[in-house]
Amino acid sequence: MKNNRSKKRILLAQILCIAGCLLFCSFLCGKYLILATFNESYHGTKNTITYQTIEDSVIEGDFYDRDGALILGNASPGQSAYAEKPKNYSYAWLVGYYSVNGGVENTFGLRGNLKDYSLFHLDAENKGASITLTTDNRLQNKAFALLNGNEGSITVIDNKTGAILALSSQSTVTYDVNDMESLLNSDVPGSQFRRGTYENDPPGSTFKVITAAAALKKAEDDNLDSSFFQFVDAGSYTPAGSDYVITNYNNVTYGNIDLEEAMNHSVNCYFADLGIRTGASYLQKTASAFMLGKDIDIPYLCTLHSSMNFADEKPITIAQTSFGQGDTQITPAHLCLIAQAIANDGKMMRPYIVQNIKSGNHTLYRHINRKLSTALKNSVDVKLKEIMHSTALLYGLDEATYGMVYAKTGTAECAEGRIHTYMIGFTKDASFCISMNNSLHSTDLYPVARQLVSAINEIYE
């Protein structure tokens, strides 16, 4: 048999088969590996299929606090893990839920974000991986109790590491982590999000800390003397080119004051003027160094968003921003990080809440501390600490009872006439941010801060 075309036909068949094989391999890897990992929709499909396959046999992994005390656990095949009182409330907004209904994935909080470990990485007994958080059960419960049912949040972060020691939230509904319906059945608008990490509001007077840092930096850079920080307060201030009149809280007039006095009494007029004299460039750089306008990722929990706007560089914009109003938007957890950066000699650490994830003896994940930003020079940081300490003393956080405490309050006027009060501060060990949504005066936070600082000191004893 002589067939000169046979060679070409073999080659043709070979090329077609190779093309088919490569196409199939691409399909397999593309759909089941790459898209299933990186595409949200495909990853959801993978999780849904996996969960529906194993839901009757899987034992959800346990959640522990930093001391190894159980937060959520005791799951059995087909039965979710549960938390005992009061952790079922104090951890509810943090831990969240994971479920699949009608082929649709529902996720919230750490349980939702850690499902690949706690539900889909099983040991020989079909138990998911155990997750150790950085929180302290005593502090978390205390922080939740201090909220006393009021809408708001309390965040506590370790100064040196960025570990979140407590992140208690209270919404307009009472969420019990053992009863997912207690959250999902709520039809109150804005009730279904965690206040500490998703609530973007103006920072109020807590921003004066950043204005002060920017001014101190400018004074150092330009060799300005103390007169730069002197200001004669007349009780009102009108930025150039504007007819908007800025007044102090309760319309008080303070006369000739310096930075420390202005911070102690949270003088709006002073900081409006100081901000304008410091300049948009310094304010912008300092705010950026504190990560304002940048996203901050808290692994496995969420990403903190914030924004600020100096774009037009008009005196009125700078003035309003300088005392904490304007277009600046920030979350309470981010405010806590600002306090942490000042406490940690100007170094902001990457916040984290998951310490490690283990399956049996195998460690699947372990957090490594990382610096997020150098917010301040050491010399500026020292001066800022002095000012914040004298301010804290005025809040009743005396040295004899509470040790060295540094703090600053803030009251933000928000959209729809809401008033949002804050207190940021730190001890030698941990930083905190108390945020209350419906409290009219920041003085309401003083007793909460005292109890919180006592609780922080207790866990570090």
Binding site: M1, L28, I49, T53
Partner: protein, 448 residues
């Protein structure tokens, strides 16, 4: 110059022996990570496997055989052994993987290569075509008379020989390769129409035999072999063109006809009113309809005929980079038909893709060898092509079927699945390819 040529050869080819050994050792590490101490079974298999690798590698190296082909065969065999050991530990199927049968399969392959060495001398004789045709018919007659169904699959493809069962339909594949080689390279100098008639007779013998013993799986592989060999090796002619178009048209028509018949006969079948020819044809019509409709919509019968493929699909979703992490072990027949799915589910998608690429390497080596042989030894070229296609096609078709990409499943995958007879046939084809690739590597190096 000879020294330089030898040096060049060793530089190019020795690396494949090292790679094969490294792959075997790497699989050992993976097995220990997956199974812990149970992976000791792999360690027992590793000793003869390394010896075989060294023996075959030395033979291939010394005889300038195709070393890429050698590496593909060894790596697939290693993957298959690893998978079968894991399947036994995790899935606990009815039968356990037998190293003895594996060894017997290798011995059979050795004997077969020896047999081919002599048989190829009569391959071009006139009577050889009829000899293979009769041989193939005899296999079906024997199965019709003495066939058994040891696994309850509903087919009579096995015969019992004492305590052992042998799947005789696998031998029709060997007969088919020898038949086509003999038919197309016969001394008789057959016309195209004569070739088409005789091959059609062979085709119908296989079709009728497969229908009688209810084993259509093997027939489909032979069907693809039939079409591809006629397309490639029969000289260009109008008759051949019409023949191929008609056969393909009949296939499409059979599927469409089955759908129409299913829809029209369903009420009568449900009422038990079918009679005569329709009653006999109904199971086939229903099977074709079910296969195609399942591929289109897997969830149409999730706990019935779609169960196996649905479990396979779940396994694919859960497989990931290193295999599933949720202890999902609900894959039916992981040791045979769904071996690829079990492989991916157990070891991760990358190893599955690697296996497909190794089958592709077999195809490339086999096809290249066949092309090179076509002018020197056409009969060997057809045997090489047939063996290559039977290994590659069966693997790819079953893999595609188990992933629900085509409406086909239900056959073992070369190297990955267990089954004494089929393993032996796979080793026979592999041994044949290695043997016939003697001298090809050196030739290729010179060509380069």
């Amino acid at each position: 110059m000879k020294f330089l040529s030898d040096l060049n050869r060793s530089e190019n080819s020795f690396i494949y022996i090292v790679l094969a050994i490294l792959f075997e050792l790497a699989m050992g590490v993976v097995m220990f990570m997956k199974l812990g101490l149970d992976a000791l079974l792999y360690l027992y298999a590793l000793i003869p496997l390394l010896l075989l690798t060294a023996f075959l590698g030395t033979y291939a190296y010394n005889n300038d055989c195709d070393m890429r082909l050698y590496f593909a065969l060894i790596s697939l065999a290693t993957t298959g052994i690893s998978l079968q050991i894991l399947v036994d530990q995790v899935y606990h199927p009815l039968t356990t993987f037998s190293f003895l049968k594996y060894g017997i399969g290798l011995c059979v392959a050795f004997v077969f290569v020896f047999f081919y060495y002599f048989f190829r001398k009569i391959l071009s004789r006139k009577f050889t075509v009829y000899l293979t045709l009769i041989g193939c018919t005899a296999i079906y007659v024997i199965l019709y008379l003495y066939g058994v169904d040891p696994n309850g699959y509903g087919t009579l493809a096995w015969i019992r020989m004492g305590p052992y069962t042998v799947q005789m339909t696998d031998f029709t594949k060997v007969a088919a390769i020898l038949f086509y080689s003999s038919l197309l390279t016969s001394d008789e100098n057959r016309s195209v129409s004569n070739i088409l008639w005789i091959s059609t007779l062979f085709f119908f013998i296989n079709l009728a035999g497969s229908v009688i013993i209810h084993e259509l799986g093997s027939f489909f592989i032979l069907f693809f072999l039939h079409l591809s060999i006629l397309f490639i090796f029969v000289p260009r002619s109008l008759g051949k063109r019409i023949y191929l178009i008609v056969v393909l048209g009949l296939c499409v028509g059979a599927v469409v006809g089955s759908f129409i018949l299913y829809k029209s006969l369903l009420p009568m079948a449900e009422a038990g009113e079918l009679s005569g020819l329709m009653r006999k044809a109904w199971p086939f019509i229903k099977k074709i309809y079910t296969r195609f409709s399942l591929t289109a919509n897997l969830t149409s019968d999730p706990y019935g005929s779609g169960y196996q493929l649905l479990q396979g699909k779940k396994a694919l979703w859960m497989s990931g980079l290193f295999g599933n992490t949720v202890n999902f072990h609900a894959i039916p027949v992981p040791e045979s038909d769904m071996a690829f799915i079990a492989l991916v589910n157990s070891f991760g998608l990358p190893l599955g893709v690697f296996s497909i690429l190794m089958f592709m390497m077999i195809l490339i080596s086999g096809s290249t060898l066949s092309r090179n042989m076509l002018t020197k030894e056409p009969k060997d070229a057809i045997v090489i092509y047939g063996a290559t296609i039977l290994l590659f096609l069966q693997a790819i078709i079953v893999i595609l079927g188990s992933c629900n990409m085509i409406p086909f499943a239900g056959l073992p995958i070369p190297f990955l699945s267990r089954g004494g007879t089929y393993q032996s046939i796979v080793f026979c084809f592999s041994g044949l390819l290695i043997y016939l690739s003697k001298g090809s590597w050196k030739g290729e190096a010179h060509e380069e």
